[in-house]
């Protein structure tokens, strides 16, 4: 009998990155990696994919297999690697390339060593380096060396644990950062913050990327982004007439913006074709006028251009999107973004538009871009701005149930479901896609009743501007009232809590980027059981700095009313306070587990 072992990963034994800036401004990056593979399970490490772009000059210098003594066992031949397009699901087409090859061996351990060079004239970063090649594989030794003319202006930001060694030689400056034993990290703990590995970021004082620019401040970096897209915000004459007709008779500024936004949503489609200038330059608005599709840049430029044509100023705003991992370094002006939205300032309130979705309401950013820094591009006046955050009320998920026991052991269920936040966004996109299966799947997921059989469901009072969605559901459940031995049991608390790890298993901080807020009301008509003894649990009400939980039971004639509420605030909980946080969650969990309505 063998005891279980957690399968250990192979290691990156050596990872050298040498960057040389020529006097003519051309950058050469040479990377050399030595990887040790200890078992067949780790063979995935010998499948190598190297990313580059058509604007770069890429050369695979060598690739080979070594034994542990350093003897070459096999060399990669020229015909054994291929270069293909990067086939990401994110884009319909992109011109980025991947050179890939395999170097497997069958005697373990073995090592794979390869080296490649990338030469480029246009770049935003001199280096964006971390000692890890894969987040789940540790690196033993890593080196970043930057060799550049002594007077080449740069700015850099380096993690504290990395030491810089600087030297000068024959009019050139050499910067070196070394790292040893950088450990990989697993991120399968829920609500964990973004990865925080040692990093060195170096940007040139002045760069050419499409156009010449600087990034010594957010203003200058924004100015570069503005220049890059200069002249793209012009729409066709035909489109101008269309817009004039569209807004004829509307006097309110916000209503004009809304009409144009809905026009954008109805007429265009999000399709990502990532080509040229590293996917940073927008297609012109006129392209979207004609083709009615584009990526986030093109659709935002188009929206901006349409507003401009009716005299409304707006700002192309670049942002890092996603529900998690949303932070940028505000002290290091540089390209740290992957999405574009539109900001429209006004005297009373700033409007925010997400232009890639035909599903979302007007002036709704949602979980994808809420509460974070973004760069509003406005020439020299470009600046970091903060997007609005979702409040507790914005994300409240409400469920109101009415249960009625029937003759055949089944319980008739009427449910009013009110979706907000992430669930609202998902459902709106299923509506927009006309995808009934996914709508039904979401209703099934959200209804919270065991063994639920739908009779019908429908969306009530749909309104495009609404930031919530109401769904009426009717059906039956065979196990809402369970027969357990001689008892009949109802488990009325159906709010599902996030399943946080036990303190002994939790290694990371907790990062909750937007609140969780749920409220259930369940009304049971228990007329059928009026002769029985009905035992109702104790009520509970917990409130602390992490959130709230309450459960309450009351009777109204033959009706038993159960209220359950759970709120978890947007929060950051350091790991040393996790036990306290977990106690809060555990208290609720234990209460819920031991709570049931018993009918004798």
């Amino acid at each position: 009998m063998a005891s279980l072992v957690h399968v250990a990963f192979g290691q990156i034994v050596n990872f050298d990155t040498k960057i040389t800036m020529a006097d003519n401004g051309k950058k050469t990056t040479e990377r050399t990696l030595l990887i040790q593979i200890n078992s067949k399970e780790e063979n995935w490490l010998s499948h190598i994919e190297l990313n580059h772009s058509p604007n770069q000059e890429f050369k695979l210098n060598y690739a080979r297999i070594l034994d542990l003594k350093g003897n070459i066992t096999r060399k990669l031949k020229k015909k054994e690697f291929i270069t293909r397009n990067d086939l990401s699901y994110q884009a319909f087409y992109q011109d980025d390339l991947i050179t890939e090859f395999d170097l497997y061996w069958s005697e373990y351990p073995y090592r794979v060593e390869y080296s490649y060079t990338i030469k480029e004239e246009e770049f935003l970063y001199l280096a964006w380096w971390t000692p890890l090649v894969y987040t789940n594989v540790s690196t033993i030794d890593a080196l970043l060396e930057v060799n550049m003319p002594a007077d080449y202006p740069i700015r850099f930001s380096a993690s504290e644990q990395l030491n810089l060694k600087e030297s000068k030689l024959e009019g050139r400056k050499i910067l070196r950062w070394k790292s040893s034993m950088t450990k990989s990290e697993s991120r399968n703990e829920i609500y964990s913050p973004p990865l925080d590995f040692p990093t060195v970021k170096i940007v040139p004082g002045e760069f050419k990327y499409g156009v010449i620019g600087k990034s010594d401040s957010w203003s200058s970096f924004g100015n570069w982004a503005d220049e890059l897209n200069n002249g793209t915000d012009q729409i066709t004459l035909q489109e101008k007439w269309t817009l004039e007709k569209l807004i004829a008779g509307i006097n309110n500024r916000n209503e004009i913006i809304k009409s144009i936004y809905y026009y954008l949503q109805d007429q265009t489609k999000y399709v990502n074709v990532a080509i040229d200038v590293g996917g940073l330059k927008s297609y012109p608005a006129s392209y979207v006028c004609e083709n009615k599709y584009g990526d986030c840049k093109a659709l935002t430029t188009y929206m901006k251009a349409m507003l401009k044509s009716v005299g409304i100023a707006s700002f192309y705003t670049i942002i890092k999107a996603g529900e998690e991992n949303t932070e940028i370094d505000p002290n290091f002006p540089s390209q740290q973004f992957d999405h574009v939205i539109l900001m429209i300032p006004s005297e009373t309130d700033t409007l925010w538009l997400e232009n890639t979705s035909s599903a979302l309401p007007f002036n709704y950013l949602g979980t994808f871009t809420q509460n974070r820094y973004a760069l509003a591009v406005n020439g020299e006046k470009s600046q970091l701005v903060k997007t609005p955050s979702l409040s507790i009320d914005d994300v409240l998920l409400e469920r109101s149930y009415h249960f009625q026991a029937t003759d055949n052991n089944a319980v008739q269920v009427d449910l009013d479901l009110t979706l907000r936040g992430n669930e609202f966004e998902d459902f709106r996109s299923f509506i927009s896609d006309n995808d009934e299966d996914r709508q039904k799947g979401e209703v099934r997921r959200q209804n919270g009743v065991k063994d639920f059989h739908f009779d019908s469901w429908n969306i009530a009072d749909f309104h495009r501007d609404s930031t919530f969605l109401q769904v009426k559901v009717e059906g039956t459940s065979l196990s809402e009232i369970r027969q357990i031995g001689a008892l009949q049991v109802i488990n009325p608390l159906r709010i599902v809590l996030p399943d946080f790890e036990k303190p002994k298993d939790r290694k990371l901080d907790v990062a909750i980027n937007y609140p969780i807020n749920k409220s259930d009301k369940s009304i049971y008509n228990l007329q059928e059981f009026e002769q029985n003894d009905i035992q109702v649990p104790e009520r509970i009400n917990i409130k602390n700095r992490y959130g709230l939980y309450s459960a309450d039971y009351s009777k109204n004639g033959n009706e038993l009313i159960v209220m359950e509420k759970f709120t978890l605030f947007a929060n950051k909980v350091p790991n040393d306070q996790y036990e306290d946080f977990y106690e809060f969650m555990d208290m609720i969990k234990i209460y819920k587990k031991e709570t049931a309505i018993i009918i004798k």
């Binding site: 009998m1 063998a2 005891s3 279980l4 072992v5 957690h6 399968v7 067949k40 399970e41 063979n43 096999r74 054994e80 291929i82 270069t83 293909r84 397009n85 086939l87 319909f92 087409y93 011109d95 395999d102 497997y104 061996w105 069958s106 007429q267 489609k269 399709v271 074709v273 080509i275 004609e290 083709n291 009615k292 599709y293 035909s358 927009s432 896609d433 006309n434 995808d435 009934e436 357990i484 031995g485 001689a486 008892l487 049991v489 035992q535 587990k593 031991e594 049931a596 018993i598």
Partner: protein
């Protein structure tokens, strides 16, 4: 129903309907005004017209094939991106021959404010995407797609590969109003074809083309050709289907390829202009013969024998063990030394030397080399070709080369067995699940083809043994749980967990509670069952003085995945399977069991279900099993199978209640 139609027979058939010819760029007012498709009102789009045309045209290499496609689609809902974003794949053989996609034209039509607008595709927005060494895509997006739009495109694909006469699929995931395929044959190439999914076309016709063509030097004297060349006319075959419903995918089907309405072509004969005829493929025996002569199959086996000999003497050092033992050692050596790169095919993709050096290759590289090793060791092994599950079933009446896509070994020891060298976690004599697809053909010199069944009749069993005690202080269950998997269940567990304690705990903690200790048995001995043993604490449901206990914890099936009311296709479980449960619970002296549920019993030709409760002094013993006796159930057995699964979910998850007596 499948039906083979040999081209030559069709010449005598007459037309009983007409084809539909539409002009590119000319849509009708009815098409643009169409609000929904009558036969399928829910559909988000409908193919109005899809016509393919293949002809042989004169080229530098003699004749190449030119395939022209013209398609018109009505979009009711523009979110349907599968039909607005187009990819046209084409093949590059890596030796200088390539398919060529050209003349792409696309138009979007919209009705705007009562007038029709047209937007043509800008040719600069057609992208060429390289997917891998052999395949590229031409890609484009239809411009200005609005709800109600009509999308129309056409393109030409020219191919020098005569084996690749384009097939035609009449059915799609959206309905098709009109689908037509027209093939113009020249007398030098004879194809046979297979139609799947229908018994009759709405229209089919064959005619002789008016145009006179010639091959070689034709010179006329008194109207007669006296040159060495040949004069000929094309035979034009036309097939039409109308109002084809959308193909609706269902869970547990073997492959969409087994059911969608389509037409496959296979080059059968080459009639040389000089008068001789060479049969390309006419029978499975002929196919075998051609495989045995093929440079990357039969000849590859021969050429790799020298290298295999070297490997045998240097790496394997065979001694005087039995043939079975030798074969086992060779197969296990192959499994541990080489990595399958995920590619399917019958033909070797590299030389044995390169393969040995790269340690990685396709199924053909691995298994043909393994056969060479076996033969060189004096064990007679033969290749066996098959079609993997995702590739569809082989219609064995029709010897089409492309119906098979994988090769394994038939090892003729005292008891012959089938072997595959691509999966290390399977025993040496067990095939990967992808190979369990009806039957395979032994590639050998023989007049009569020999087919071998690939179905696996052996039951895969999961046996769960649970010994439970009630912790009377915390009122939770403390249990020892043993889970043993056999056959494919053991492969599946080995593959899923890779013996990684974290993965195992993550998977089972939801099912058996908080695991304090876990051990596994026989992960490396792949011929043996794979077992896991746990010590665990399972939180019970407490109701006052009552404790609710699930005798099998959460190990039994908890959800019936068969949710559809009706079923059009068979339910394919891949192999017969059984889950067995044995649970004991010692009832503490101050507790009593309030009610013991009734058991359950069912046994028939399809399934067996047993559930039995008994009380032996203070020990509650619960035993049960459910067994699905067939690997595949036909569509009319669906309702019964669905009902059995419902019963299993209900009965095996039923709790018992212990009541504290003081």
């Amino acid at each position: 129903m499948k039906k083979l139609l040999i081209l030559i027979l069709l010449l005598s058939q007459s037309a009983y309907s007409q084809t539909l010819e539409i002009e590119f760029g000319q849509i009708t007012i009815d098409e643009i005004k169409m609000k929904s498709y009558e036969a399928d009102k829910e559909t988000k789009a409908v193919i109005l017209y899809d016509k393919g045309k293949s002809i042989f045209f004169d080229s530098e290499n003699g004749y190449d094939i030119r395939f022209t496609r013209h398609k018109r689609i009505k979009i009711f809902d523009k979110s349907e991106s599968e039909y607005t974003e187009i990819s046209i794949p084409y093949y590059v053989d890596g030796y200088g021959k390539t398919e060529n996609v050209k003349s792409i034209e696309a138009i979007t039509y919209n009705m705007i404010d009562g007038s029709l607008s047209q937007r043509r595709l800008d040719p600069f927005t057609i992208y060429d995407e390289k997917i891998n060494e052999r395949w590229h895509n031409k890609k484009f997006v239809f411009p200005d797609v609005q709800d109600g739009a009509i999308l129309e495109y056409r393109y030409v694909l020219e191919t020098p590969f005569h084996f690749n006469l384009p097939d035609w699929t009449f059915q799609d995931k959206i309905p098709t109003v009109y689908s037509e395929y027209q093939v113009s044959m020249i007398p030098f190439y004879e194809y046979v074809f297979l139609v799947q999914g229908i018994s009759k076309f709405d229209y089919q016709n064959s005619t002789v083309a008016n145009e006179n063509r010639s091959w070689g030097n034709v010179s006329k004297s008194y109207g007669q050709n006296v040159g060495r060349g040949v004069e000929f006319q094309d035979y034009v075959y036309t097939y039409v289907l109308k109002d084809v419903p959308a193909f609706k995918d269902e869970s547990y089907i073997s492959s969409i390829n087994d059911y969608i309405i389509k037409m496959d072509f296979q080059l059968a004969k080459f009639h040389s202009p000089t008068g001789t005829t060479s049969e390309i493929i006419s029978t499975w025996s002929d196919l075998n013969e051609s495989l045995l002569k093929h440079e990357k199959f039969g000849k590859y086996l021969k050429s790799s024998s020298k290298f295999a000999k070297k490997v045998l003497s240097e790496d394997l050092k065979m001694n005087t063990e039995s043939d079975r033992a030798k074969a086992k050692r060779i197969i296990e050596y192959v499994k541990s030394s080489f990595v399958w790169n995920g590619s399917y095919g019958k033909y070797a993709t590299q030389s044995a030397k390169d393969f040995f050096s790269k340690k990685s290759g396709s199924d053909a590289d691995i298994n043909l080399f393994m056969i060479a090793l076996l033969n060189e060791a004096g064990i007679k092994a033969e290749p066996l070709i098959l079609s993997t599950r995702n590739h569809g079933k082989i219609p064995s009446d029709y010897p089409f080369d492309h119906f098979t896509n994988y090769v394994i070994a038939l090892v003729n020891t005292d008891t012959p067995f089938l072997a595959d060298g691509t999966e290390e976690l399977l025993p040496y004599n067990k095939l990967p699940i992808r190979c369990n697809n009806e039957k395979g053909l032994i590639v050998e010199k023989a007049d009569t083809p020999r087919w071998i069944s690939l179905d696996n009749p052996v039951f895969s069993i999961e046996k769960n043994i649970i010994r439970m005690n009630l912790d009377t202080v915390r009122m939770d269950i403390v249990a020892e749980v043993s889970i043993q998997n056999t056959e494919y269940q053991s492969y599946s567990a080995r593959n899923r967990f890779r013996n990684d304690s974290l993965r195992i705990k993550e998977y089972y903690s939801d099912r058996i509670g908080d695991i304090s200790l876990s051990k596994t048995v026989s992960y490396d001995r792949v011929e043996s069952p794979y077992s896991m043993q746990f010590e665990t604490r399972y939180e019970t449901e407490k109701l006052g003085n009552n404790v609710v206990i699930k005798p099998f914890l959460k190990l039994p099936l908890s959800k019936n995945n068969l949710t559809q009311k009706k079923r059009a296709y068979p339910v394919d479980f891949i192999y017969p399977w059984e889950d067995i449960f044995e649970s004991t619970l010692e009832i503490p002296s101050n507790f009593s069991i309030t009610d013991i549920p009734d058991g359950y019993k069912l046994d028939n030709d399809l399934a067996e279900i047993n559930l039995d409760y008994s009380l032996d002094n203070n020990i509650l013993i619960v035993k049960g099993n459910y067994k699905f006796k067939k690997s595949t159930y036909v569509a009319n057995e669906y309702a019964r199978i669905k009902y059995y699964l419902d019963q299993i979910v209900k009965e095996f998850n039923q709790p018992i209640v212990l009541e504290r007596s003081n």
